[in-house]
Symmetry: C2
Subunit: 291 residues, 2 copies
């Protein structure tokens, strides 16, 4: 049985107890409304025999003034049951006033990594994420923390923060989990109307098409982009479609081992993002041609 707790001091007591039994902490921070993507993070942590703690906290600091903080889905009982079944030892629902005390005002300021891709339309977003994750890391003292590659820019910014601030935690990146039709799992998918579903697949279709083109030898990013834009359907607003390296998130001109395609879009008010490496397929092709 997992523990379900709210109180910060009780959390610390349970963590100390686990540590005194020689357990290392694996930490999965979430905003709740858990889906298979989150559960894969929890399962990965549990499979490493870590004392696995899941936090469920809709972080106000990462929502802009016109964003959906109040509308963000909150389903605590369901989330607790799912996290427990996936192997969580402890599920923590922090109180807002514990994470953001009334006089709290210090924040983390990510640098250039936060000023591109999703950062262009959401200027305070990654600072809010980095701030809450640093707070949670310091409360938890985890040896590993687990994040999905679906939010690749977040992952990159948190990796940079951990390096820059010498935070003693290992960030583990886990593959994007997808619906049967390929749609990247996201808590926001619930807001998609059934009639829009085929349009929501435009992101993964673009990524697959780019992977096909790279596999076929087309390594010019501008050529690939041209083809993707040509087939991008009406009815879904493209925010960005960028070819970037996987560490600095710098624009690249030719597909290389580090190249990822990042796509962001708006579909009837629902934000959708996706990304993937373009090289895995390329490697496969090279191996195929050698075999």
């Amino acid at each position: 049985m997992s523990n379900r707790i709210t109180d910060l001091e009780q959390l610390k007591t349970l963590l100390d107890k686990a540590r005194s039994r020689g357990r290392n902490i694996g930490f999965v921070p979430t905003m709740g409304y858990l889906h298979d993507g989150h559960l894969s993070l929890i399962r990965t942590s549990a499979s490493l025999h870590l004392f696995t703690v899941v936090s469920i906290f809709v972080n106000p600091l990462q929502f802009g003034p016109n964003e959906d903080y109040d509308a963000y889905p909150r389903t605590e009982d369901r989330d607790f049951a799912l996290a427990q079944n996936a192997g969580a030892d402890l599920v923590w629902f922090p109180r807002k006033q514990d994470i953001y005390a009334s006089q709290s005002e210090t924040t983390v300021l990510p640098g250039s990594l936060a000023h591109k891709l999703c950062g262009l339309s959401r200027p305070a977003f990654f600072g809010g994420i980095a701030t809450v994750v640093l707070k949670l890391f310091n409360i938890m003292g985890p040896c590993h923390s687990f994040f999905g590659e679906k939010d690749y820019q977040q992952l990159t910014i948190l990796r940079r923060m951990v390096l820059d601030f010498f935070v003693p935690v290992k960030i583990v990146a886990c593959p994007t989990v997808r619906e049967a039709d390929g749609l990247a799992m996201s808590s926001r998918n619930v807001h998609l109307k059934p009639k829009d579903r085929h349009l929501a697949l435009s992101l993964i279709r673009s990524i697959n098409m780019a992977q096909e083109m790279a596999r076929a030898g087309q390594l010019s990013c501008s050529q690939i982009r041209h083809s993707l834009i040509e087939q991008w359907p009406a009815g879904i607003e493209l925010d960005y479609m960028d070819f970037r390296d996987d560490t600095q998130l710098a624009n690249v001109e030719r597909v290389e081992p580090s190249t990822r395609l990042f796509v962001g879009a708006w579909l009837n008010g629902v934000r959708l993002i996706d990304n993937a490496s373009l090289w895995m397929q390329q490697t496969t092709r090279l191996q195929d041609s050698l075999s």
Copy 2:
């Protein structure tokens, strides 16, 4: 004998070794050119039987574009000897590229506490300090860290950061150490010309006068300020003379237990600051009147 080291990995090894011997770490971050103020911090840490580490690092991030980073005095041999004599177990001279790796870009953003007093003329100053101190805390993992009350705004901002980020360290504030004539010790005092010395004492004279007035029952901050401004000499440029509480640094109108006077000035290009509680004297007066 203290250890004198530069290498980050060697530092970590020595800290792990000390911890494995059951020692807790006491940390004194400095920019070098040590004076009795720094040495009192080192002595306090050593007196608590902590494994006392002094870092000596002129932090580029806290200097503005027109400030004196290159001219800041660097005297490593002298500093090492002084720190050793004061009881340091280890003196660390970090390499700039270890603290600020080439792709490093994440910083700490203090809030409103950094936008007053010294923050008005030095907008990037406290963010630079908070950033380097957080890095050093995470490298060191100290249980206690020692700061002088002379830099009271810095102390307040770091205390806020530690609370806001849940950094597991106790900040210890140590009293301002003064020259025989009352001048608050500072590495920058070396830049004062002998003929300017009497003018440099304007800050502590103002503070003492305010303490006298409070002791005599004058608790109106604006009345006290009026008298201080009247006697402020020509030849030293006043930057601020503020009555503020000791936690939020909010302006106050009447002297209370939490009230401090903060003075900042420029003297022929040399920045001078000082501050003190106005209540200690008040308490003394009350005790005097009771005895």
